[in-house]
């Protein structure tokens, strides 16, 4: 039994394939022009954990090492580029870099593999359903030439599932060889179901996911594209909150950022702009009232320094809301209580009752964060994700996603990544650094 299987009973680490790869990769011809291209084989694998201590322990106790298939171009591929037809779909909320991934997929298919038949599915999974009436978009190098300069997604997106049978009908009708889905965990689950239906029908379509989560909360995905850009914009919102806070007597800057179940954006942005005094994330409980609660801590901070900045992830403090009253969003996720305005009002009430005049500024930059073009770092990353997705799909691999792990690109089976959510470890270096940087106490009454 491995360390991963513990939390994941149906653990299966193998990547499925549509069949044997027998067509020589067009990249082989590069070798003759004196560029040596290191093809990757399915035996190349990257360890799940790089701790020597852990490895030795496994070896000593007979525990199996977990590793992932390495991504990269294969010497032989499954699809004939001349006949192959690709489709790309972007789903869920906007995320910086989506256009870059899309562009990399199109350019790699077109220029590296010679696949010239590439379709863009409009408005997410809705685009497969004829009833919505969206046209398909033909994707060419010219069409995608400048899209990386723009935020959002040139294909449009939507939330929520669609009927799997209807989607596979469309895939069949369009005769798609390789389907690239850019989306979050809902999309990954949909991609898995599409893959199963394709398999059940005996179709030959490879489904490859590029995990998209601005919250950076997908398991076995060390880093989601767009996250670094999101942190950059979130950090500038913290700078604004700090400027507001120090600009007024008893100034309080309150910033709400994304993070439904995982506080990576909040924690990382707090380290990028070290002016937060309290960071609140879904993974770490906190009290509002009582001698150790947030309000008392805030009061003490104002007395001592005259200003404060609070950063809260949208999923933090959900215990203050009645979950039954909130319903679900179009993606089927439970709606969250609005912790930002809740804190805004509670803080204002608290100090009003104390007769202390404060100046609270509430900043909610989420749409400004997610709609910008990707920064350079994310653009490089998106390029690799797109390339590796194409390499995998052309080799006939399916039901998998492309991930960066231990600085290497790997293939992860979709069910494995979708089995649980990645969260900030309250005892890990990231969160401890946040605590060191903010100096915030436990915010919990005994």
């Amino acid at each position: 039994m491995t360390e991963l299987r513990e939390g994941c009973p149906d653990f299966d680490n193998r990547i499925h394939s549509l069949g044997p790869s027998r067509i020589p990769s067009p990249l082989k011809s590069f070798e003759s022009t004196r560029r040596f291209h290191r093809f990757v084989t399915d035996r190349d694998r990257v360890l799940h954990r790089s701790s020597e201590t852990f490895i030795k322990e496994c070896l000593a106790t007979g525990k199996e090492l977990v590793s992932f298939e390495e991504a990269g171009p294969r010497e032989y591929i499954y699809f004939d580029p001349k006949k192959a037809k690709a489709a790309v779909v972007t789903c869920g909320g906007l995320c910086p870099g989506t256009n870059d991934v899309l562009r990399a997929i199109v350019l790699t298919l077109y220029h590296v593999y010679g696949v010239h038949n590439i379709l863009g599915i409009k408005y997410g999974l809705q685009g497969f359903i004829p009833a919505y009436g969206y046209d398909l978009e033909e994707l060419t190098p010219d069409r995608v030439a400048n899209i990386h300069e723009l935020g959002g997604t040139m294909l449009g997106t939507s939330r929520g599932p669609q009927d799997v049978v209807a989607m596979v009908d469309a895939i069949d009708r369009l005769n798609i060889s390789t389907l690239f889905t850019i989306g979050g965990d809902g999309t990954l689950r949909a991609a898995a179901k599409i893959g199963d239906e394709i398999s059940a029908r005996g179709l030959k379509t490879a489904v490859v996911g590029i995990p998209k989560s601005i919250d950076n909360d997908i398991d076995l995905v060390a880093r989601s594209f767009g996250f670094d850009t999101a942190v950059e914009v979130a950090a500038s919102a913290i700078r604004s909150a700090h400027t507001e806070a120090i600009g007024a007597p008893n100034g309080i800057g309150l910033v709400k950022v994304m993070g439904r179940q995982s506080g990576f954006i909040a924690a990382t942005a707090a380290l990028a702009q070290k002016e937060c005094n309290c960071v609140l994330i879904p993974e770490v409980d906190f009290d509002l009232d009582g001698p150790q609660g947030l309000l008392a801590v805030l009061r003490e901070r104002l007395q001592r320094r005259g200003h404060a900045v609070i950063l809260v992830a949208e999923g933090a403090g959900q215990k203050f809301f009645d979950p039954g009253s909130l319903g679900r969003d179009p993606s089927g996720n439970p709606r969250l209580g609005d912790i930002g305005t809740f804190l805004q009002h509670r803080v204002q009430e608290y100090f009003a009752e104390l007769g202390v005049e404060i100046s609270l500024k509430y900043i909610e930059p989420s749409y400004l964060i997610r709609s910008v073009p990707a920064n350079a770092n994310d653009r490089v990353f998106c390029g690799f994700l797109g390339q590796h997705a194409v390499h995998a799909a052309m080799a006939g691999k399916t039901g998998m996603l492309v991930s960066l792990w231990n600085n290497r690109y790997v293939h992860i089976p979709i069910p494995l990544a979708a089995a649980r959510r990645k969260q900030v470890d309250p005892n890990g270096r990231l969160w401890l650094s946040v605590l060191e940087s903010t100096g915030q106490p436990a915010l919990l009454n005994e």
Copy 2:
């Protein structure tokens, strides 16, 4: 009777002075080093209106021409720099460039005039009142060296009036020769009262205002500092709203920007980022319901194009609120109804009733706009404002503000500027360009 006096019965265009200027300006010595310094005299005046047609009409009808005293260094000054003591105070909401004006005042006083005794008053007018217990801040070139790289105000600020007698007591006690007030119309009115009280007591303190209004709504002030920076950030919020809108089926981006009574930010930002379909400002009435109302226009737009962007100034559409229920803010201004969330809910209700699924994203970037450092253009402008304020104050001029008018810096008596508010002319070029750019109809039912 002049064109200005029509709307302003107490029209008085003269600049008051503490007394005759007899001390040669230190700038005189520059001439000997072969730099000729063009001193400005009080007879140099800039016309209120530069239309030849208007001038000729005035001449023909005997109407008096309105003009303003030109700003600039005077050959003789009133205060002895060796003995002079200056104070600076920043009031009201944050505004990009406040630190730049402050820095220019300090550097001009220190390096150009040799005034080395400069005090910073903390947290706006509260800083004059001993009960608040704020320390004074000594301002030196070193202290202000890098403040232009930061947003906000290094002195802090606050809203609302303070007791005039107590403030002048402080000014007297501190023996301040020149007081520079950086603030909006409330501050200008306070400065005028301070000036009157100073005058009544026979003190020799020059009070010079640098008009600050991110809304750009001060009369006889062609441009407020920080406005250009604000437009730049507001424009990027429109870009985000547009990216969101085109990214979803029936996507609507709704952006609320500053503009309590004047829609200059909204109108100008809409021209900077030409992706708005409706711009709503306080100066122009609009209906929500009915065949010509906003909701019907929005519905038609979605049917035709599938997405829309609405930009609303915070003071627009106040007819939809009951003024009695809203109260006043700490500056004493009537609180506005929140037109942003009002529109958000009404638009959502409207389409829900129609059974049309929309995706509305509401963006409220105000604190992000006002807290950034000034852009280059505003920095240049702030430098001139600070310099001219010092030139005026050292010459003993008082009860005035520094303004840019017809591309020249001028002195405006505070009461004149405070008499009415500058607004967007619904028949002027600015608004007509917005209408051309958006293509929006009148939004009013017959």
Copy 3:
């Protein structure tokens, strides 16, 4: 005789027209939808100088007042939008905002006037000459939708004149009604010649220029588009130079910016980023050697403060070069000696001879400055320039350019603007503020 005519013997202030305007403007129909559109008449004129003192002197001495025809939509136009065909050409070096002007022209023609036949001429004036073999580009709202997000010009550009007869042959062959030329003084002169040839042939083509000069050196044009953006980027280069200078013992940052004959970028950027110790511009002579020369001043500065920043416009200090040896560039302008590397070497030599170790960093950001997209302020400005150019051309006005003067848009006859060059006035407020900000002495030996 007027103030302008003094320097311009052939002074002629009238705007030429192809003939009477008899077609009702499509903007007239807006009035019926309750928007009142203030049409501008040819009698609306803007004064050249807004100084009351000057006006009164003119009136007293009988001197004629100079004024310019105001820009704006005319109630009746010359061309029938249904039949009209427009062409746009962009010439000379890259300049931020060129795409915005181009976009505004296309959108105003298309949406406001209903002109749907719009051609883009590729690569400047070369695009008229068949021998170059460039295709024409059809310009539609879709084609120009996103070009404002990109720097440069979507049409490409080139330098230098082309044969006027051949160009007018092309204009005739293509049956162009309105030709918009976006370019600098060379282009304006070419436009004037094209206009003359058109007139000589009795063709009915309106030629309207939008003045483009990143140096901001076109006479009677208060502000060139792109200039504000250029200053912003130049200011950030000064910030870098300052960071380098303070980072090393005896650190010297040397920045060369654009400014062939006029130092507006250098002077304005120095005010935007007040960390320059010496600013050198073409309009102001300076010595290098001798007790008052730049090198001695620099030495003294290093001894006193340990670091220095020098900002030089490319056209400064040309007396140090032999003009005969430099030749001319493709536009026919005399090539300039490279004052940047010249200063770099002379400063290094000077301190090497003194045995003083320095650390000089030379920064030449010109191409980085001119290739960026326009900032918000320039985008607003470019929108107005494009709109007014279309209003003028549709009214049949020709041989003119659109200019901002005293905060109003006006029509200037091309020959008048091309007659002399706008330069920084060494006795004016701009340069004096630079001297105050830098504290630099005269840099001239007696």
Copy 4:
């Protein structure tokens, strides 16, 4: 024998320590406030390579696994914070993030460990030498509060070695417990020598390096701080070059970026801004002339597409220069031939001889790249580097540097990192992606 030892005969992977750590870390007290702080032990080690294939091969062949000591807070420390005195020095060229590392060191020492006695050494290693006469700078949280908003280094820097005996005399005289050196490989070598001399004298000073190399070329350091920021600015220079190139007939944009011996900036920036057609780096030879040379490839590109962008690292193509003629720089590194202007002239000559008119724009943004403040990603990274450097030094570890490896922070002995230089692997994924992105051929004649 290990994989690392192959290239490094004196391979020694142990971290030296001044003595046993017996003082309980002040971080221990955090535990009682219910935050659990995971202390790291010296037995925690991170594998050099995370490839499962490689690990298994090692195990099969009996090859020793290489691993590095993990960084992090130790439960017991060596220095008594009350008595400890720290010093920080910044050396070599400017690099984004230097101030952030410095700030993190100061804040961690002060707030986490309670070390209040912190000295800044001015202008690099020169600051230790009394003859230079620089003052020491006292570093407090207030002093470093805003330095992360500024580029460069607040301490100043210099190049080149200083006398080791004199430096250790100063360290001894100042009674420094922990010395933090922020610098590149020259500085690391100096730090090693300082450590040896300290050891020889029996002093108790821990010397910890934070590797600084904007070229990202330090061995066993996966990522240098500032590199990501540098890539971001370099990418925007490529965008400018592309804009220039497409803006002119036969437009060529040529950009030179940093990279003396390693082309990481060029390779990564080319992936961030995929508009380069040829990327030239020190690690990959290229010919200029001949049928496969750069010039012929460029000619073919212009014929086919009409524009091109070339990106060259400063250390590329050194075979075209006579090394004897160039000398050494103040750091003692051999001076490089200026490949940028060399290519500029050779390209111009080549096309002039062919009679082909081109428009070449040469951009050299190095000083603009290295002087900007760090971006958010680098700021987070710099924070961790500074924290871990303090954790290590307080634990008495010496002669080591802090590095990120396989996503974990580790301690690397300085001699090991300094033994060889990290370079772009011409057969690795990075370079192959560049080749795929640019489509550039081998650029080498048979």
